[in-house]
Amino acid sequence: MNNLLAVPVLLCLFGAGATFLAGRHPGVQRAVSVTAVAAVCVVAGVLVWLTDSAPLVLWVGDWPQPLGIVLVADRLAALMLLVAALVSLAVLVYATGLDQDEVRRETPVSIFHPTFLLLVAGVSNAFLAGDLFNLFVSFELLLFASYVLLTMGGTKDRVRAGSVYVVVNLVSSALFLVALASCYAATGTVNLADLAVRLAELPAEVRGVLQVLLLTVFGLKAAVFPLSAWLPHSYPTAPAPVTAVFAGLLTKVGVYAIIRTQTLLFPTEPLSLLLGVVGIATMLLGILGAVAQGEIKRMLSFTLVSHIGYMVFGISLATSAALAGAIFYAAHHITIQATLFLVAGLIQRVGGSSSLDRLGGLARLSPLLGALFLVPAMNLAGIPPLSGFVAKLALLQAGVADAGPMAWALVAAGVVTSLLTLYAMAKVWNRAFWGVVPEQATARVTTLSRQGRLLPRLMVGSTLGLVVLALAFTVAAGPMYGYVERSATALFDRSYIAAVLSGGER
């Protein structure tokens, strides 16, 4: 059963190779990549079910332990993997729909599919990695894929956005290597479970340096406030499916790495004060940035930054209730942020622009599009009974239960951010969906719908699928929250270390 752990990564890598070879046959490429990602979804589903009893451990290549590479799936990793795979599948289907019609303008087909599969492989590997170096390699894998996807086509805007993104991530990779070298110098291992045991024997000062180093590295990937300026700068110019998958997955991989390293390696001294301050700043400054924007994709990028603050909120309190909230939030936010970026792509398609100044009356032009935007937008703001509300409620309850001054400050910032998110979403609704239809939009919509190309079925279907997935989080909130709570509790009971170091099955 443990060999199942390698399957998601292998499927994507082989898929990438196959689609690369089939570069001249777009039909084959689409079939292969959709099949591969769908299979990853199934495997991830099985992993979620299996890990609920005990974490799975796979020592790749059967090297003497704990020297070799190890893949570990506990509840947290399996859940993140499943949500990430489902979102990637939806985005891939959306991109396929886009392909059929905008091939020339948006995505050169022959590179898109292999790169996308490499990205999914990197993300899956990051969730499953059981040692820091493997985590580094998976970050490089997904970053490289993201460089290519972000600068795809090499237009002026994308090269500008891409250069900022690439430079920032190169710095963070170098910093990650410094952290790795320091960890290895201090303990002689990079295996996470082994590190957790050996770090506890080190002087507190050395441990503190390593902790802050790792937090900085992953904070940069997750776009936590002082390190978040690159994100709204680089995301909005990419094609809709690319932005959607970046917004959904890449920052959440950073959040996952923060949760994993902080709880596993440094369980006794959480950086509550630092994380609390940073969380408040991320939430408030992010959402204030969003409110100021007049372009939908940029606004969504700022809300993305802002809502990372909620997850930092949960991590900073470092109780199992708060972490359960943070994990649920991450799962909810992966889905919802990706959906909104896909909808932004549809808005651009129907309205001919994503700037609020040039849009209007979309609800009249396409009521379906209105519904597709409104439900996830309200979900993001946290209107009951949608999953955003459940996640925010869990975090706020954890904050109130903690009752320290920092916890109250976080609760206040969380409520204000939620309200401002509602305001930002209402602004989009007001400007883009109500009001007068601009003349050129009417002409455009008539031409497109006469050709039957206004809202291609695959694009609408995949977006709808994600909206329904987010609604399913509400319907299945009971069992899902139970699972999340169990995974948060397991973060503190050292079952991860026990499972990895007991030898496991080979």
Binding site: L170, A181, R298
Partner: protein
Amino acid sequence: MTANLTLALVAGALIACGVYLITERSLSRILIGVVLASNGVNVLFLVASGPAGGAPIIGLTPGPQMSDPLPQAMVLTAIVITLSVAAFVMTMAYRSFQINGDDEVADDVEDARIAELARADLASESYEEMGFSDTGEDVVSE
């Protein structure tokens, strides 16, 4: 373990030069900076691996005199990654040169626009004042 001071100083100097170059505007200088910094980090791994020893091959060096092979494997991976990064950044610099005539990292236009609006204390174009007329129709005045 006693660390090798010379190596640590070399690593520090390389990384410092790298960081200085990365703060430049031009992509080709940034690239040189990245290469310098990553070599500095690779030297740091050598510091982490402890005292130098024989080649870590069984049968060639007796166990206790071997140098630690694990950091070397990591450095090897890091070198490969730096190589491909260098190739990618060069492509991007060249593309930027083709389009703009230089390879500088440009500022975000939209950011500048919003900052300008704020400085002039103007409402952005997407700001609107809603008024309500007697007919019940919402009137937008801009």
